[in-house]
């Protein structure tokens, strides 16, 4: 699914040069829930940006589904993000002037292959499953942090992306809300075989990940868990072949909203 080789990313020049990523090679299988961990400044965000096609590597290659994404034009990358990737930010990054429902719909509205009826139905199902159906017409400013992050996740999966990226999605949340978000990720992963790459620096999050990739000073410290995770990933692959547009049977449900 994702194949990166010898990825290097440097910022600045000369004296001020910083090697944010220093020769990272990694493979991520379809259906895996991978956690990228490491201390602050170790290059986690940089790696996720590169994988999410939000930035270019200084050298090295990134292949997603066999496509060398570094060779894509700007427009192709935008389309790649729209059709294949979902991204969740630490600070939710919702559009403040849009309601919950509108925020979730937004990426789907731009897809040429989706009708309005289709994505309103998908949005409705997602809203139910994240437990925010009652709040569908609220603005971001009327939601708690946990609720906002669940909306952001809903927005990221409305287009049934091949890969979901999340950069410290729980960093601004308390433990209870963090668990809720992590449970949501786990359910999406288990029930839909959604490939998820999530950045975190909280050790207790590891219990949710199939595999943990540790970074330090831009270098991979261990990624050895891959072998162990592989059989499970393969099993999930089949699951993912089901109808990706059908959310009704997904059952990613969260009970009455506690936050």
């Amino acid at each position: 699914m994702i194949e990166i080789k010898n990825l290097i990313k440097t910022f600045g020049r000369g004296q001020a040069e910083v090697k944010a990523l220093d020769g990272v090679s990694l493979e991520i299988e379809k259906g895996e829930f991978v956690g990228i961990m490491g201390p602050s400044g170790s290059g986690k965000t940089t790696l996720l940006h590169l994988l999410g096609l939000l930035d270019d590597p200084s050298s090295g290659t990134i292949r997603i589904d066999g496509i060398d994404v570094c060779r894509l034009t700007d427009w192709e990358r935008t389309m790649f993000r729209l059709y294949k990737l979902g991204y969740v930010f630490q600070d939710y990054a919702l559009v403040p002037e849009l309601t919950v429902k509108e925020n979730i719909c937004l990426p789907a509205m731009l897809r040429r292959d989706r009708e309005e009826k289709e994505y309103t139905a998908a949005t409705r199902d997602i809203l139910h499953s994240i437990g925010l159906w009652e709040r569908r017409d609220h603005l971001q400013s009327e939601l708690s942090g946990g609720q906002q992050q669940r909306v952001a996740i809903a927005r990221a999966i409305v287009n049934t992306p091949d890969i979901l990226f999340a950069d410290e999605p729980c960093a601004n949340l308390d433990t209870e809300n963090s668990r809720m978000v992590l449970e949501l990720f786990r359910k999406i992963n288990r029930e839909r075989g959604q490939t998820i790459v999530m950045v975190s620096h909280e050790d207790w999050h590891t219990e949710y990940f199939d595999r943990v990739v540790r970074l330090k000073d831009g270098k991979l410290v261990n990624g050895a868990a891959q072998a162990a995770a592989e059989p499970k990933a393969a099993a999930l692959k089949e699951n993912a072949m089901g109808n990706p547009l059908n959310y009704s049977g997904m059952g990613i449900g969260i009970e009455a909203d506690g936050s």
């Binding site: 930035d55 935008t78 993000r81 729209l82 991204y87 849009l98 990426p107 509205m109």
Partner: protein, 404 residues
């Protein structure tokens, strides 16, 4: 760019305007409205002055068409025949002869020079609204001899001292007072003041008017000649049509429409008015462009991270640019409509309280074409100045924008 993308861009723009900062939206609309009003005001006031001056000249000086003596002559001779000929033409309301001379006026110990005009009072009513402008006493009768009416400026005011006057007057003469007149041919005559008129026309309000009968006495022979004839055109006929008619029916005198005269006399003044109007429009436009440019610039800079996020979730650059562009489009449409309203209110106000000077009393003259042209110019300028920063920021590298 397909319909879907435009729809999303418009959706984002609309939501941002409606759910965003109210007061900033209203302020932007107000600014555009003011700029539009500013673009309209000065040029239309200039146009209004032009219209008023023309109106005055038509009403009190030349009427629609003025006929002067053939070249080399001092007078139109045999006016009886000429008038009869012209009055028969289609499109002619009435033609009347005018005579005028300089004279010295004396009253209440003041001695001043003035122009005295002679009219045929009954006929003149069809050509000029003079008879409707009497503010004291009454209009001249057909055979009034030894009686005169004078303009309000010439009559003067008892409250202004002689040495303070801009233009000499008779210091506040009243109806019934007597005025001594000495004509250039030596004739001296005493007139009783029958009425005072106020036309708003500077020339006219400094004149004394007597009847044709009276002037015959002064000249000492029947007035069958005149320096000029004025012709009032019937409503619905154009001045140039009637002018051609007059020429075709064998009038050999010099025939000029008001426009012919105006082009010579005040054409140059109007040209410089329109240059001033043009400059004021350009200044207003520059203000609009700069204001909108800054507004959108600030908006996009404040929203840089937001723009990065939209790009990150797969929203195309052109959708983002258009979402800001559409905001400017909507703001300028609203602003221009507010500008229409302001302009309308100013025109309405100045219809009741016009700008009055001794030379003119002006109300802004606004045509639908002016509104449309200025609206379109402002609209285009706004859209360009709004799209520019939107285009710039939407092109920026995502990572840089995200870290903003």
């Amino acid at each position: 760019m397909a319909q879907k993308e435009l729809k999303v861009a418009f959706f984002l723009a609309w939501r941002s305007l409606v759910r965003g900062n109210r007061s900033s939206v209203l302020l932007n609309i107000l600014i555009i409205g003011m700029v539009f009003t500013n673009m309209m005001f000065f040029p239309s006031l200039m146009a209004g002055i032009g219209v008023d001056i023309k109106d005055q000249i038509v009403s009190y000086q030349t009427s629609n068409i003025m006929i002067g003596p053939a070249s080399g002559e001092q007078y139109i001779t045999d006016i009886e025949t000429t008038l009869a000929k012209i009055n028969r033409l289609p499109g002619v309301e009435r033609a009347t002869p005018h005579y005028q001379t300089g004279a010295t006026l004396q009253s209440r110990g003041r001695l001043i020079p003035a122009t005295i005009g002679a009219i045929q009072p009954r006929e003149e009513q069809y050509v000029s609204p003079l008879h409707t402008t009497m503010i004291a006493g009454s209009y001249l009768g057909e055979s009034d001899v030894g009686e005169a009416i004078i303009g309000v400026s010439l009559a003067g005011s008892p409250n202004i001292r002689e040495e303070d006057e801009v233009r000499p007057s008779l210091g506040g003469v009243r109806v019934g007072d007597s005025i001594q007149v000495e004509y250039p041919n030596g004739v001296e005559k005493e007139y009783r003041l029958k009425g005072i008129f106020q036309t708003g026309n500077f020339e006219m309000d400094n004149r004394m008017i007597v009847s044709w009968e009276d002037m015959q006495d002064v000249v000492g022979e029947p007035l069958t000649f005149a320096p000029y004839i004025t012709v009032r055109v019937k409503p619905g006929y154009s001045e140039s049509f009637v002018k051609n008619e007059i020429l075709r029916y064998g009038v050999r005198e010099q025939v000029q429409t008001t426009d012919d005269l105006l082009n010579k006399e005040i054409g140059r003044v109007m040209a410089s008015f329109s240059i001033i109007g043009f400059i004021s429009m350009i200044v207003s436009l520059v203000i609009a462009v700069v204001v909108l440019f800054i507004v959108v610039m600030v908006k996009t800079i404040n929203n840089r991270r937001q723009i990065g996020i939209l790009k990150a979730i797969g929203v195309e650059q052109s959708v983002i640019m258009n979402s800001y562009g559409f905001q400017v489009v909507l703001l300028s449409i609203a602003g221009i409509l507010v500008g229409f309203l302001f302009t309308g209110l100013i025109v309405l106000y100045m219809t009741y309280y016009p700008m009055v000077t001794p030379e003119f009393s002006a109300t802004p003259y606004v045509t639908p074409l002016d509104l449309a042209v200025n609206g379109i110019i402002l609209f285009l300028a706004s859209v360009i100045s709004g799209y520019l920063p939107a285009w710039k920021v939407s092109r920026e590298n995502i990572r840089q924008v995200l870290q903003a």
